[in-house]
Symmetry: C3
Subunit: 211 residues, 3 copies
């Protein structure tokens, strides 16, 4: 299992990094200053996990106590500023890492709620909140309607991941240890396929004026 | 008292349902997808109570642990989507239930804070936050200035309800058990009268350019 | 030390008052009603501290339990409404008190996190959040990109103040008791100098379209 833990740890850093890059890029496009870019990068990377930790009573939130998150966010900020033309061309890798972060955070979010002894509903909802919370706060701070409420299968992929972890946890058996990995792979594949084939959830528009 | 509890329970579901309908309708008008509509419906119904629970240390918040709220929110979402033309015409019933939800949540919000042993100021402020918090988060997510900061007596009605519950709790006597019901009726009447007669709090506009 | 405590207490009230005035003024310019103005004034004054208290488990947050904050916020609201033409001309004093509030809240925010036994990273981050949180919520509620992400050295001054408190706390010696005062003075001076000389953090704009 040790290799699996190292794998999760590296994935956690990669997800944090990808989320921080996406935050820093959005903040820079909006013309924010150095503090604003750093703050948005950190919030996208850690905001969802902080809401989860507050809701389950893991005080203070990991985003504040564990310096890995702050260091990785700062590194992402510096890279975004120093190598902006390159980061802009990195659209594909960023989307790839963002999908990895989404999948990982939905898995670890649900797992942490289970470890703290909460029920299935709490675990599933907090898995989704951990995965998408940071992006929602970013969009609120930048003054736009959160993208996840409108675009391709995104929060829904996190929902699937969190559900697999939670229901997998009920099954005590040989596959138990691997639930997290399976949930990660399915969520990740779902997200990448949704991007590739432009899968969307239905939008409803009869008899209304829309936005 | 048992009948009173059943009455409160049904009112709680009705209030949750009305708040969820109002959220789903607003989200659909904005053109959000299926996840977006469900998420906004759930947040309007449970957001205020979750802030209250986090502030008084009732962890995890009832909105996450008690599946009634999730089920009622999902039902409201499905009804809003499936019967949209009917829901649109339901403006009057929705306003009626929304007023019921507001009144009920201000009462139960203040009561829960008192049960957790907090002082009068905490109870009154959390009664108001429980009642209006969900609607404020909805407006933030949809990118508009929260309606409650601008329109007819709304949060003020919740304030009156929460104050009656809190001060009524100090009076140990024959009316004690009925404080919640009295507060509910006064808050509810105040809100309906405010809608009927367009009562507003004062707005101040001398010597400024406004927005 | 008693005089120092009285000094802090008065400064705390002055900072709360200044933040509340800035909130009430912004809300009134936006055309909000009486409740809206009071609510924004209270949130600017107490929002940052409430986020801090929730993050360190100081439940319920001081902003809800300590009536000083509510009373000072209401007083600031009444003054802003009753003497609006005068308050508008008070731009300079308001900026002065706002800088005092910023500096004080960064110091007390970091100190409270240390008293609750948390590590240096938590103390520094929560010092900044206490100082700027209320203003960020104000800007979100009024539908604009938070000013602190864009303008002159503001959050950065709070960061410097919180760092001095936190690292000063490590040094056990004769200067220990005065760390808070030193941090306050440096943060305050930095903020006033930034306003006076229009010091800004770098903004990056090559190869992009801006806002």
């Amino acid at each position: 299992m040790n290799k699996l833990h190292t794998f999760y740890f590296l994935l956690d850093l990669a997800g944090t990094f990808a989320f921080a890059i996406s935050g820093a890029t959005a903040a820079r496009q909006k013309g924010l200053d150095l503090f604003g870019i750093s703050a948005i990068a950190f919030i996208v990377a850690c905001g969802g996990g902080m809401i989860r930790d507050i809701c389950i009573g893991a005080i203070p939130p990991a985003g504040l106590t564990n310096s890995n998150y702050l260091i990785v966010s700062m590194a992402a900020t510096i890279i975004t500023i120093a190598f902006y033309p390159i980061v802009q061309k990195l659209n594909r890798p960023v989307i790839f890492f963002d999908a990895a972060g989404l999948s990982l955070f939905s898995v670890t979010g649900a797992q942490k709620a289970i470890v703290f002894g909460h029920n299935a509903e709490v675990a599933i909802l907090l898995g989704v909140i951990t995965a998408v919370g940071g992006g929602v706060i970013r969009d609120i701070l930048l003054g736009r309607v959160p993208a996840i409420l409108q675009k391709e299968i995104y929060a829904s992929a996190a929902l699937v991941g969190a559900m697999i972890v939670t229901f997998g946890n009920e099954i005590k058996g040989i596959f138990h240890d691997w639930t997290g990995l399976i949930a990660f792979i399915i969520c990740f594949s779902l997200r990448l396929l949704a991007i590739r084939y432009h899968w969307n959830l239905p939008v409803f528009s009869n008899g209304q004026k829309g936005k």
